[in-house]
Symmetry: C2
Subunit: 424 residues, 2 copies
């Protein structure tokens, strides 16, 4: 029966029982973290052997003869450009391999466009005081952090199971001060949905008023499938080629959730026009990123097939964790009518909508019981979830046992918060 | 006898002989590179064992328990902050460890100040259309590249054997649009001189009109001594503490020329006020730089004493190269009155002033004979050496034999260019 259909007395009785449960848990002084999409130690162990790849005896030359121990090669050694191109489904000439973080490359890109024109005929974005950025919601808090830092007015665009509301996007881009849009097209952070073919095609077909409108295509989870039966998205560059919009998308990816977060390799892909502007900055910024680490990655994986085989091992570790989350939600909450959630086939998150107006309270209750969740609202620009309902659950890091405990606590807290709200 | 005192006939005869010499060399189709301060393969081998430090069996936790294989720690693991603090002679709390490149950290810092105020009460530099930066000359072309990119008017400040002309600097900083100064205080690139105590004290005592005037203290060669009898510079932060200017300097260093260029560790040091602004950006830009590489460095060196012992091995490889350059210059050019040069006790360059108006011609002649030098003028803002006399010689990369050949060619070309000039 749904909580909404409980009588006041039933709710009060239920609340008492739930509080007893939560108070018992508090006595255990549990400390569990489901706040961020962080690989578990088991997953990190999968890449341990990469640390043996380069030794003092290794030949550290790239295939073009570059000594990876020395200066040079601003956009990455050829074999790493090839590997990251295959990850993104583009050609190596479109790729620049950077440092350890795709977030850093995205930040650098927005920073670049703040001080220098994106195209020949447009002003740098810092000269557009009412600059705006489209932010599909729920979305990635670190994306929103970047555009907030650079003074963009962030416009939330609701997502459904197909991706962002394209009717709204098509309307919004008629405003020439709308300069770009954040996208996590596959296994979106946090909703886990992948953009439908129609959504990708409509993005590719956009006719923004701003010639310097850019789509930040953060393909963070491009090969991060949980099951063999996984999502596929259209190739944004192929679609934009057809529509004459090849300069619109800039794609990003990294091996942070493939090898070692923080010691991986990040890359971006863009059209020749965009790359000319981007490399015009990078060549002044850095003589060349860590080529030994690029070499380490290439020799560890061999090629994209090796990397995909590696991702299946990640999936084997991650899948049971997602199952625990989904099973716990299903068993404890489905019939109570206080929750909606997705069943992602990849990525790092389960996105939960608790009863409107209770997300902050659920996160607070969980914290008191020892479970750390992403702050409620973090998935919205300015941390402002208008429904106060969205919570991002990151099941990757805890052990299976801890995760089960954490989800029990979460479900208790979601029920308490819902009953409090219904009683209010 | 000086070329200036030769008769026209003597010069013509000398020129003929020199051309014969250079034409013979051209037949050999030599290809030698002295363009950039790049460590030689022998030097890189010194750090080879660092590649064995972390293996699949290693404990990859930092001393505070951080798993260096995973996300986190935005400003560097504690032991690496300590090491880089010791390199710069500061306390670890003043340090942020970044990616693989101090140039990138300098670029990031200027980029930050372009879009965000340096201090509470000042406008972002992009809002100052006539912004200016002081550039001691000759200086580092990549520094000038950064400030040119961000639209600063670069004001050259002549250097002598004590550092920049401080009388001029003290005058120039009265202009509130002068926002900063580039400094390579020890073994300056390219002149090889180190700032005298008086110069450092006068920099620390500056009273710039701009509250957001910042000194970019690129201590690239802080432990890069060639001999035991080496230069010492005053600690800029200690001096600025005394003058109440602690927020003025921002220091940079890296292990690019200690371990592997491109796979080293970069760091910066700054006051608490500056660090608050700088980290306020970095926390949005990157979740944390490569901690495994930090760990690799710390475990390879142990501590600053280990690193200094390592630098002595570099010196043993570099010293003979500097001796060849200086001996060749001395033997071939000293008595001709067409050259001035320094005798650095560290760093990566020998800085040569050929006869006024001949530097471009010398570089061109060398190139024709197979020797690639840094472009003439590169050591000045906008590539504009008003005397067309300065040439940066980078002796580190070639073998001893190649270097001797290259210097023979250089000396021939310097003589030819001088005679052509005197005959003109």
């Amino acid at each position: 029966m749904k909580y909404q259909d409980y009588s006041r007395e039933q709710r009060d009785a239920e609340l008492s029982t739930l509080w007893e449960g939560i108070n018992k848990i508090k006595e255990k002084n549990i400390k569990l973290n489901m706040a961020r999409g962080v690989p578990s130690p088991d997953q990190l162990d999968l890449s341990r052997k990469m640390l043996d790849i380069l030794t003092s005896e290794s030949d550290c030359h790239a295939e073009d003869g570059t000594d990876c121990c020395n200066y040079g090669v601003m956009d990455g050694i050829p074999e790493c450009k090839k590997l990251m191109a295959d990850v993104m489904g583009v050609t190596p000439d479109m790729v620049m391999v950077g440092g350890n973080s795709s977030l850093n490359m995205m930040f650098d890109t927005i920073a670049l466009f703040m001080t220098h024109p994106v195209t020949g005929g447009t002003p740098a974005w810092s000269l557009v005081p009412d600059r705006k950025f489209l932010c599909p919601v729920p979305g990635y808090d670190r994306h929103f952090g970047v555009t907030e830092y650079f003074g963009f007015q962030m416009i939330p665009v609701p997502m459904d199971e197909n991706g962002p509301d394209m009717e709204l996007v098509e309307e919004l881009v008629k405003d020439p001060t709308v300069k770009g849009m954040w996208c996590v097209p596959k296994y979106s952070n946090p909703s886990g949905i992948s953009y439908s073919d129609e959504v990708v095609r409509r993005i590719a077909a956009l006719q923004p008023a701003a010639a310097d409108f850019r789509v930040m295509w953060d393909n963070a989870y491009c090969i991060h499938d949980l099951t063999d039966d996984h999502d596929e998205i259209l190739n944004i560059f192929e679609e934009c080629e057809k529509t004459g919009n090849i300069d619109m998308p800039i794609e990003f990816c990294s091996t942070s959730k493939i090898t070692f977060p923080g010691s991986g390799v990040a890359a971006m892909a863009a059209s020749a026009n965009n790359m000319a502007v981007i490399k015009g900055k990078y060549k002044l910024q850095n003589i060349g990123y860590d080529k030994l680490n690029m070499l380490r990655h290439v020799r560890f994986f061999g090629d994209i097939e090796g990397m995909k085989a590696h991702m299946k091992k990640h999936a084997e570790i991650l899948r049971p964790r997602f199952e625990i989350v989904l099973n716990k939600l299903g068993e404890n909450l489905d019939e109570l009518g206080i929750i909606r959630y997705n069943r992602p086939r990849g990525g790092y998150f389960v996105c939960v909508d608790v009863l409107d107006g209770t997300a902050k309270r659920v996160v607070e209750l969980c914290k008191e019981a020892g479970v750390n969740l992403t702050g409620a609202g973090a998935t919205y620009p300015y941390g402002n979830d208008p429904h106060d309902s969205n919570i991002r659950i990151a099941p990757s890091f805890p052990s299976l046992e801890d995760l089960a405990s954490a989800m029990d606590i979460f479900c208790l807290c979601a029920r308490i918060a819902a009953l409090e709200k219904l009683n209010a």
